[in-house]
């Protein structure tokens, strides 16, 4: 059932449910209703029930969902009940910021290596993570059994670096370079486009203004 194709938007919301449930758990809450979850997520209660039913989660009317049980199930579904060895490739300003991003370890992503071409950075430790020379990419990836790569290299070298990650046995690439990557079907690529997210905002702002202009004219 779970291995069918789900809409990306539902999978994205699962991460958001998990986040809210982790906050509830940290606050000592043990049960939650779909309505409470919906309020925290700013979506409708029916949407919450639909999303969770899609992934085999069923709350009971008047009793709701068990917070710890649901956290375990969502982690199982998202694949983060196990730890993922992750590398940051490219230790420029963005790569360094991601290496220092405190949220990764607590959410199942263990940073085990970084890579850069700059001799001044090689051998450096960022937190507990060593920066290796880019020439050793395949070797270190294979030896440390890294399965995820966060790609933060210049766009001009993104594809060739991705090819080497694939050769090294990487299963998933989160790509911050502003270029679309080609990868074999068994390697998953997630494209991060920060500017596109700003465009979502300007789209909403612009169309709000249009609406107000129409209302007042």
């Amino acid at each position: 059932l779970i291995s069918e194709n789900f809409p990306d938007s539902s999978v994205r919301r699962l991460s958001a449910y998990l986040r809210q449930l982790e906050l509830l758990s940290a606050a000592g809450v043990t049960r939650v209703s779909s309505r409470q979850l919906a309020e925290r997520m700013k979506v409708g209660g029916a949407q919450v029930r639909r999303d969770l039913a899609l992934f085999g989660q069923f709350g009971m009317r008047g009793v709701g969902y068990g917070v710890e049980e649901m956290i375990a199930n969502l982690r199982d579904i998202l694949g983060t009940e196990r730890r993922w060895k992750t590398a940051v490739v490219g230790a420029g300003p963005l790569g360094l910021a991601l290496l220092r991003y405190g949220d990764f370890p607590q959410r199942g992503f263990e940073l085990v290596a970084a890579f850069d071409v700059d001799p001044a950075k090689i051998g450096m430790n960022v937190g507990t993570v060593e920066v290796f020379p880019m020439q050793r990419l395949e070797e270190v990836i294979a030896r440390k059994e890294v399965k995820l790569a966060i790609l933060a290299v210049p766009a001009a070298v993104a594809q060739q670096t991705a090819d080497r990650l694939v050769a090294g046995g990487i299963e998933g690439i989160m790509n911050f370079a502003t270029t679309a990557l080609q990868a074999p079907a068994n390697v998953h690529v997630s494209q991060v486009d920060i500017t596109a997210q700003l465009e979502q905002l300007t789209f909403q702002i612009s169309h709000d203004r249009d609406d107000r202009a129409e209302t007042t004219s």
Copy 2:
């Protein structure tokens, strides 16, 4: 028409179409078919035609879409035909990386100010952008007519900082802090969750493995 509610996923794809069209334009291409666009985007041709028709773009069979015209129209729809004065709030590692992110200016986002509480950073210039003390947030935002804020402060102070941005006249906030923000209805908030994007990848990888296990058993 355009001011109706569109699915977020369609708006996200508009940004991606714009990206591809800009690349085609830079390569000297003047016309493109929905099929060519679909191949570059790795979606179906019918999806492309549906998305673009939703926003009033109609290609002609056998002639396709005019690249420059479509770029102008997409920018108009996304609101980026005009420049947006943007501030980065929080000049930690992530804020500094975003200040150096070369993609913003060419896509309509003009960084005009940064803010931090660290006296060592105040007065510093990152590229052409000055770091102001956080106490001057409302004043500088108002004086420079900043409309967008990129929030890269610790989660513990994200809400209070967002409240001050709203007071200063900000219309949109892209929030990198891992906390949900409350904002009035006329201020748009876009939540960036980098770890959730990694979870999308682990979801796909895990379910691929399940599929393979099922096939071979």
